[in-house]
C-alpha cells in the first residue's frame, strides 16, 4: 500500500514546516489553554445555577466538551487549511497539479496541509472525554463502543458535507464562502442540541449536522439511544460518504482549469 507511506511523508513535510515556527506553536497552545480555562469556567457558572442542563450533568458536559474539541480539532487541523488551499487552487489554477498526481485527489487535498500543533488538542480532548465518562458512571463497554463508532461516523458525515460544499465550487466558480456556514455553526456543538429551540435543533441535526457528531455520540454513551437509532446513524454516514464521493467525481469531471 502506497497511501500510509504518502501520509507519513506529508506529515514529515508539515512537521518540518511547523518546526520553523516553534514559538508560534507554543503561543498557540498557550492561547488554546486560556480558552479551555474559559470553557471550564462557563461550565462551572452553568452548574452553579442548575443541577442539570437539559437532563445532562457536569460530567456528561465535560465529556461533550471533549467531543466538541475533537471535532473542532479535525476542522482546524485538516479541513480549514485544506479548504484554503483548494479555494486558491481553483482560483489560480494550481489545482491542476494536484489532480495530475497519480493518487486519489481528495486524499491529497485533505492531507497535504496539516496544522500539526493541533495534535495537542487531541490529547486534551481525549483527557476530557475520559474524565467525563469515568465521572458520570453507569456506562458499559457496549456504550463506549457505540460512542466511538458514532464519533467516527459523525466525523464522516461532516467530512462528506465538506466535500460536497467545496465540490460545488466546480459549478459556481465564485464561491469562496463555501464552508462559512459549517464554520459558523460549529460552535453549536458545545452544548447538547436538546436544549436548543426546535428550529435550531433541526438545523444542526439535518441541514448542517454538527449535533450528529457531538450530541449524538454522547447520547449513545449515556445509553439514551436504541440500537436501531445507532444503526440508522451508521447507515446515514455510509450513504453520505457515498454521495460525497459521487459529487466529487462529477465535479472533477467538470473542472477545466483556471487557464482554459
Amino acid at each position: 500500500m502506497q497511501t500510509p507511506k504518502l501520509l507519513l511523508t506529508l506529515l514529515k513535510i508539515n512537521l518540518q514546516q511547523e518546526l520553523a515556527y516553534r514559538t508560534d506553536a507554543v503561543i498557540n497552545i498557550l492561547i488554546n489553554l486560556v480558552w479551555l480555562g474559559w470553557e471550564l469556567l462557563s461550565l462551572s457558572i452553568i452548574f452553579n445555577a442548575t443541577p442539570t442542563l437539559g437532563g445532562w450533568g457536569p460530567a456528561a458536559m465535560v465529556a461533550l466538551l471533549g467531543v466538541f474539541r475533537l471535532m473542532n480539532m479535525m476542522m482546524a487541523a485538516l479541513i480549514w487549511p485544506a479548504t484554503e488551499k483548494f479555494n486558491t487552487g481553483v482560483r489560480d489554477g494550481t489545482l491542476d497539479y494536484t489532480l495530475l498526481q497519480p493518487v486519489n485527489s481528495l486524499f491529497l487535498i485533505t492531507f497535504s496541509r496539516i496544522v500539526l500543533w493541533r495534535a495537542w488538542d487531541l490529547a486534551l480532548a481525549t483527557a476530557l472525554i475520559v474524565i467525563g465518562v469515568s465521572q458520570s458512571g453507569g456506562t458499559t463497554w457496549l456504550h463506549v463502543a457505540a460512542f466511538l463508532l458514532l464519533v467516527a461516523s459523525g466525523s464522516l458525515i461532516l467530512y462528506s458535507l465538506w466535500v460536497v460544499l467545496i465540490a460545488i465550487t466546480f459549478w459556481l466558480v465564485k464561491f469562496d464562502n463555501n464552508v462559512t456556514i459549517l464554520q459558523a455553526l460549529l460552535d453549536t456543538g458545545r452544548y447538547p442540541a436538546t436544549v436548543y429551540p426546535v428550529w435550531l435543533r433541526m438545523l444542526v441535526t439535518f441541514v448542517v449536522p454538527i449535533a450528529v457528531a457531538t450530541t449524538v455520540p454522547l447520547q449513545a454513551l449515556r445509553g439514551d439511544l436504541a440500537p436501531w437509532q445507532i444503526g440508522m446513524f451508521l447507515v446515514i454516514s455510509a450513504a453520505s460518504a457515498f454521495v460525497a464521493s459521487r459529487v466529487w467525481k462529477a465535479g472533477i469531471r467538470r473542472y477545466s482549469g483556471a487557464s482554459s
Binding site: 503561543i27 474559559w38 469556567l41 457558572i45 445555577a49 442542563l53 459558523a184 455553526l185 435550531l200
Partner: protein, 265 residues
C-alpha cells in the same frame, strides 16, 4: 475636514457594498454564539424560575440587545490594517496629508457597521418573533442615554483595537495578541453571559475595566436595569477610558511610525 470624511464615507460604503454576499456570511458568525447562549440560559432560567434574580425573559432581552450593541461597539481595525503594516502598503497612505487610521480606517469601520446593521435588522426581527421577548422595561430616555454610552464604547474599542494593531510595527505575532485580547474581552465584557451571574471576584474587577463599557453597560442601560448612580459612574468611566485609550493609541502610533520601514524601502 468634514468634506474629507464625507468623501471617504462614499468610497468605503461603495467598497463594502461590493462584498454584501460575504457580509451575510459574517453575520452568521456573529449570530450563532449569542443564540446558543440565549437558548442555554433561557432553558436553565425556565427550569429554575430565576438565576441570581434573572428570569428567562431577562436573558432573552439581554442577548437580543447584545446582538445590536455588539454590532455598534465592535471594532474591526486589526483586519483592515495589520496586513498593511506587515506588507508595507501602509507607506502609500502615510504619504497622504490625512491620518490613515483616524480617517480611512475609521470610516471603513463605520461603513462596515452600517451595512451589517442593515442586514442584521430583519434577522433580528425574526429572532424576536421566535423568542418573544418582553421589552417593556425599555424607555425612550434610556435609549437616548445609551447613545453617548454606545458612541464612547465604540471609541474605546476602536482606540484599543488600533493600538493592538499598531503592535504590528514591532512584531508579526499581532494576531495572537489580538486573540488574547479577545479572551479578556469575553471574560470581562458580559459577551457570553451577563456579568450578574459571573463569580463575584470577576464582577468586582470588571466594573472598573473598560470592557464592560462595550457591552454589559449599554445593554443594561437600554433595558432600564441600572440605578442612576451606576449609570453616572459608568458614563464617567466611559470618558476616562476613552481619553486613556486615545492617548495610548497616540503614543503607540507615533513610536510605531518612527520604527516603520516598509518592505522594499
Amino acid at each position: 475636514m468634514l468634506r474629507i470624511y464625507q468623501r471617504l464615507w462614499h468610497v468605503n460604503w461603495a467598497e463594502q457594498w461590493q462584498y454584501r454576499a460575504n457580509l451575510l456570511m459574517y453575520l452568521l458568525f456573529w449570530l450563532v454564539s449569542p443564540i446558543v447562549y440565549l437558548a442555554v440560559w433561557t432553558t436553565i432560567a425556565g427550569a429554575q424560575g430565576s438565576i441570581n434574580g434573572l428570569t428567562a425573559n431577562d436573558f432573552a432581552t439581554y442577548y437580543l440587545t447584545l446582538l445590536i450593541v455588539d454590532n455598534l461597539t465592535s471594532d474591526i481595525t486589526i483586519h483592515l490594517l495589520a496586513y498593511k503594516i506587515q506588507d508595507g502598503t501602509l507607506s502609500g497612505e502615510l504619504l497622504k496629508p490625512i491620518h490613515p487610521i483616524i480617517t480611512g480606517t475609521l470610516t471603513n469601520n463605520l461603513a462596515f457597521k452600517a451595512l451589517t446593521l442593515l442586514v442584521l435588522i430583519p434577522v433580528w426581527l425574526v429572532l424576536c418573533l421566535l423568542f418573544q421577548p418582553d421589552f417593556s422595561g425599555v424607555t425612550l430616555f434610556n435609549v437616548l442615554l445609551a447613545v453617548p454610552a454606545v458612541a464612547l464604547g465604540f471609541g474605546i474599542a476602536f482606540f484599543i483595537g488600533a493600538s493592538i494593531t499598531c503592535v504590528a510595527f514591532w512584531t508579526t505575532r499581532v494576531y495572537s495578541l489580538n486573540e488574547l485580547y479577545y479572551a479578556v474581552v469575553v471574560l470581562f465584557s458580559g459577551q457570553f453571559v451577563p456579568l450578574d451571574i459571573m463569580p463575584p471576584l470577576i464582577q468586582n474587577i470588571a466594573q472598573y475595566l473598560p470592557f464592560q463599557l462595550l457591552k454589559y453597560f449599554p445593554i443594561q442601560l437600554i433595558l432600564g436595569k441600572l440605578p442612576p448612580e451606576v449609570i453616572a459612574r459608568n458614563l464617567a468611566l466611559d470618558v476616562i477610558w476613552f481619553v486613556a485609550a486615545a492617548l495610548l493609541f497616540r503614543w503607540i502610533w507615533r513610536n510605531g511610525v518612527k520604527r516603520f520601514s516598509a518592505v522594499g524601502a
